[in-house]
């Protein structure tokens, strides 16, 4: 069941009378809920976040005049109840393959998609993300320090910038792998895929 437009409008008004601020708040709450459900091991985190929002919107007529406090806390409370219910029903995936069995080779879809997606990144971003990840341990710390110095930003800002590029790249690889497995299952097809065009992966990442 989906939330109606009227109920959604009411929900936004409850979050903030300013529609724009309410929208931002809503996005933060929904993204936060997804993070919480993922952290708890749910595979359908997006659906559960929507279910939480739906439940809140249904109760809104009763609570909007009596509830005191940050609306996000109410969403959180509903989410915790959902988690408890799901645990009672044992809905958390338990039949996943052992994590140690996941191994990527140079011929895997993920690797090929990474190669492909790196080409879609502007040079500056590509160099930054590759440089950022090229070393480990003490070398990594030193390289990050020098990189930040060269860019004239703090190491924290560099960390954030590298993270945002990584999100963009990860999103691209994810879509590429999905497209590859849906349409053409062979290794060569990613290079041949016409579905991947520049500019396709610049949407916001969660």
């Amino acid at each position: 069941m989906e939330i109606t437009q009227e109920a959604f409008d009411d929900l936004l008004t409850w979050l903030n009378p300013d529609r724009e601020l309410a929208g931002l708040k809503y996005e933060n709450i929904r993204a936060g809920l997804v993070r919480v459900f993922v952290a708890k091991g749910f595979t359908d985190a997006e659906d559960l976040a929507d279910e939480t929002i739906l439940r809140v919107s249904k109760r809104l007529p009763e609570i909007r005049t009596t509830y005191v406090g940050e609306p996000a806390s109410y969403f959180h409370g509903v989410a915790r109840n959902l988690i408890r219910e799901a645990f009672r029903r044992k809905e958390v995936a338990t039949d996943l393959a052992p994590i140690a069995s996941i191994q990527i080779t140079k011929r895997s879809d993920e690797y090929e998609c990474l190669m492909r997606c790196l080409q879609f990144l502007p040079t500056v971003k590509r160099e930054l993300i590759l440089d950022y990840h090229v070393y480990e341990g003490h070398n990594k710390i030193e390289v990050h320090r020098v990189m930040a110095e060269e860019l004239g930003i703090s190491e924290g800002a560099l960390r954030g910038r590298a993270h945002r590029i990584r999100l963009e790249l990860e999103e691209c690889v994810l879509k590429c792998v999905q497209s590859l497995r849906k349409t053409k299952p062979l290794a060569e097809d990613i290079v041949n895929s016409e579905a991947l065009t520049p500019g396709m992966y610049h949407g916001p990442s969660r």
Binding site: N28, I29, A31, G32, R35, V36, V38, A39, K40, G41, F42, T43, E70, A72, S73, H76, R80, V92, A93, L96, P98, I99, A100, I102, Q103, I104, T105, K106, R107, S108, E110, Y111, C113, L114, M115, L118, Q119, L121, R126, E127, L130, D131, H133, V134, E136, V146, M147, E149, E150, R159, G160, H163, R166, E170, V173, L186, A187, E188, V191, N192
Partner: protein
């Protein structure tokens, strides 16, 4: 973002907090976008540390049993492994990655950069002259025959043919797939993708009903992995991807 935040996020992600402490973290995830971004960064750092083998003993168990419980995190793991794999390739083929060079270049005085650029230009000009001189009929050309990767996913040796490049040039014969029936092609072009994401387009030097041949000089191929995408160009200008060939230059 405070160091304490990073620590508490890590504890949360590894399932080490009490319910009350968890609730505090979760509430911030719903209300504080900066904290949420820090959370995402820590998630990726844990994934990277796992791929690098930094977790041991009880901590490793917590990561494997708690952190990687969701399919989304497993998807992140695959991405991080691919990135890690790429890093190994970069480090394995180039002892001086680009990063080491760029800061040095930027830090150098302008006059030095000018002199270095002039020297580089002289070296490139000399190199070109040398290559052109060597591309005479008696030039040393090695030959490698490649087959399209289609259908041989499980056979890595078949997919990425290793070539030791000690000749001046490499003649690459791309065998057209026997099982498919590509439309008649007036011409072909080959898109060469290097592992660093660079793409160059090469025209074949010859073609027949069963193969397409191209020649790449040694200067155009540094050690590393390459994917060669063969595109057929019909007489009406239409293009058709014939197949992809994999090559490892040692």
């Amino acid at each position: 973002m405070a160091r304490a935040d990073k620590k508490s996020i890590t504890e949360y992600l590894l399932g080490r907090l009490t319910e009350a402490e968890e609730e505090q973290i979760e509430l911030r995830l719903l209300t504080d976008p900066e904290f949420a971004e820090e959370y995402d960064i820590v998630v990726n750092e844990i994934v990277d540390d796992y791929v690098s083998g930094k977790f041991l003993g009880e901590e490793l168990k917590q990561v494997e049993e708690h952190f990687f419980k969701s399919t989304e995190r497993r998807s992140k793991l695959k991405f991080a492994q691919a990135l890690h794999q790429h890093r190994n390739v970069v480090r394995g083929t180039s002892p001086n990655p680009g990063f080491v060079l760029r800061p040095f270049w930027k830090r150098s005085p302008f006059i030095f950069r000018l002199a270095a650029a002039a020297t580089l230009l002289a070296v490139i000009t000399g190199g070109l002259w040398f290559v052109l001189r060597r591309q005479q009929p008696d030039a040393d050309i090695a030959t490698v025959t490649l087959f399209a990767g289609a259908g041989s996913r499980g056979d890595e040796a078949e997919l990425a043919k290793p070539v030791k490049l000690d000749a001046d040039s490499l003649r690459i014969v791309l065998q057209l797939p026997a099982t498919s029936t590509p439309p008649p092609a007036a011409n072909y072009r080959i898109e060469v993708f290097s592992i660093g994401g660079r793409k160059t387009t090469v025209r074949p030097v010859s073609q027949d009903a069963s193969s397409v041949t191209l020649i790449i000089t040694r200067g155009g191929l540094s050690p590393g992995d390459y994917a060669l995408k063969l595109v057929a160009i019909g007489s009406d200008g239409s293009e058709h991807a014939v197949g992809t060939y994999f090559l490892t230059v040692e």
